[in-house]
Symmetry: C2
């Protein structure tokens, strides 16, 4: 990677490196009239490309934003990533991507890599885990991030806060009202469904899933309905398929038509696939609802009831929020937080 340097450009233009630097970037002082032109021409003829690494080293700001997601091919994350990307582009920054297996250990590794690269900000999407087995890794993650922030880094997290990370300068969270929205969903579903409810949730201890389950149960209780049975599985499409398979067997045995709430849309899709594979159909044999309203839901049959979340906006806001000039939250930065909407569609229509 040996390109031409500022010094070479300066020499060719017959000026000092300092002057060349001033003209090729927008320094405080406007450089000389014709001088500027000379320098620019020299740079052009040499095919000069400023070395952002060196620039970053000199002024301690890399223009990098680190994004941590579980799986970039999951539509939930790719939608958020799109928002992050947009915000980054708008703020003239580039995004570094890290995908983890979804464990805090993987996130810690990614965070360390970003910290080492001196990313201006780190954005973490994806649920926190309260599982006992993740406790140690959570501590490591919190420690890594605390140090990162203490060193001047900025951190934005989607949903819940990092477990064990105290409120510290540079650290901001974008709350997502999972629980309240799930409650609303349950309320609306309860009004139109007489049978039992079942929840196809993520692993016990996965914060986002837990919040949605809790909210849903509360909505059910408010409506005077018995609590839903909860099936745990992976918080992705295959987990949904798994839960769906378990349910299918039972469905043919029992007579009641249940309403299944899946912890997120991709799980719901997995549930539907499993049921279909067993000759069962939605909404005839079971009502089904998801969460997130990922983009390609519109092309699925039957149309899936869900809770709409502005995923791209979430990505955009958490990024912009993290990039905010140090000071405390400026007066109501238009970001009054994230809101969602219950969207009932055919998958939960009355049989």
């Amino acid at each position: 990677m040996a390109a031409s340097t500022l010094a070479e450009v300066a020499k060719l233009a017959g000026v000092s490196p300092a002057t060349a630097s001033r003209v090729l970037n927008g320094s405080a002082r406007t450089p000389g009239a014709g001088i500027a032109e000379r320098v620019r021409k020299a740079a052009e003829s040499l095919g000069y490309v400023p070395n952002l690494q060196a620039q970053a080293l000199a002024k301690s700001s890399t223009g990098l934003i680190g994004l941590i997601v579980h799986d970039i091919a999951d539509p939930y994350f790719s939608a958020i990533a799109r928002g992050v990307q947009e915000a980054a582009h708008q703020k003239r920054r580039m995004v570094l991507l890290a995908t983890t297996d979804g464990t805090p250990a993987g996130e810690k590794e990614a965070a360390a890599a970003f910290a080492a690269r001196r990313a201006d900000a780190i954005v973490i999407a994806g649920s926190r885990s309260h599982r006992a087995e993740d406790a140690a890794a959570n501590q490591d993650l919190a420690a890594e991030l605390e140090r990162y922030c203490r060193n001047g880094g900025r951190l934005g997290v989607v949903g819940q806060g990092i477990i064990g990370l105290p409120e510290i300068d540079g650290y901001s969270t974008l709350p997502v009202p999972n629980e309240e929205l799930a409650r609303q969903l349950a309320t609306e579903l309860a009004a139109g469904h007489d049978g039992p409810f079942v929840i196809a949730a993520g692993p016990d201890g996965l914060a986002t899933s837990d919040e949605r389950v809790r909210g849903f149960q509360r909505g059910l209780a408010d409506a005077g309905r018995p609590a839903a049975e909860v099936l745990h599985a992976a918080f992705n499409r295959d987990g949904g398929f798994d839960a769906g398979s378990r349910l299918a067997a039972r469905l043919r045995a029992e007579s009641a038509r249940p309403c299944i709430f899946a912890g997120n849309d991709v799980m719901a899709i997995g549930v539907a696939a499993a049921l279909r594979g067993d000759g069962l159909s939605v909404p005839e044999d079971a009502a089904l609802a998801g969460f997130d309203d990922i983009e390609w839901l519109r092309d699925l049959q039957p149309e899936l009831s869900t809770v709409g979340l502005p995923l791209e906006d979430i990505g955009r806001q958490v990024t912009l929020g993290a990039l905010l000039d140090s000071g405390a939250d400026p007066d109501g930065a238009a970001s009054a937080g994230i809101s969602g909407t219950v969207r009932l569609r055919r998958s939960t229509a009355r049989a």
Copy 2:
């Protein structure tokens, strides 16, 4: 971003920066016995995080891989991105993400940014454009990339080569047999379909789309069938919807049941949605086939016939290929190129 430095660690450990460097990284020589421990402890207690920027500057290698895609939320690209990510992780590198609007101009901008950051390699996914309006931008892109490679950068491109970029050291292409696979698809479809064929293609001049159209037409001709009519639209889901809408009107007027070949799966999905919206269904009123076999096709009804492409592998291989130690292609690096498979499913079943 003021973290502690190597020098501080060295001082605390009572050694020279060089020694500290040697122990904290794997230099050629193994540092002293107890010395290593002292340094490590000092680093730990200071919360030392090596500055990869400075490191990169010092040894002219950033450990960065730049990935350029049209839209990270498109399943085709996110699948490839996953592969790139994997390969990068395996090679201990991080990936920088840039999404463009799909124009060479946008790609040029992204390439310039990556070049400025001295990324070790740049990976470009997404079709080339031969459209007249993109000619100038293509030249710029080629010039930018040529300079990048000439400066020691490495470049991997999926599918077609960069227009106007000569064979140059560091530049490699991962060919995708779009034309041949489309031909095979046409052959197999022709054997089972009697009616006319229609193609919902991307914009005229978009290389990937053009190749697929050409191959498909050739397959048709080989089978003694008349050429298919070609409808042009955007090379994404909405383009498919658009083409589908135009087709729907005609379908109810004419009596023949056509077989529609969409340039890629997301277009096919758009076509299906448009037909469905008009009360038409697949495969009853029209057969439908796509291309790519993106992951979530399995959850769509009816199951879509398509051509399977190993997208993740494509991402992995193009990345690994670009990272190869300079020299020419090592003897048959297991990567005998990309191959695909025609997969006929229910969307093209006989009516």
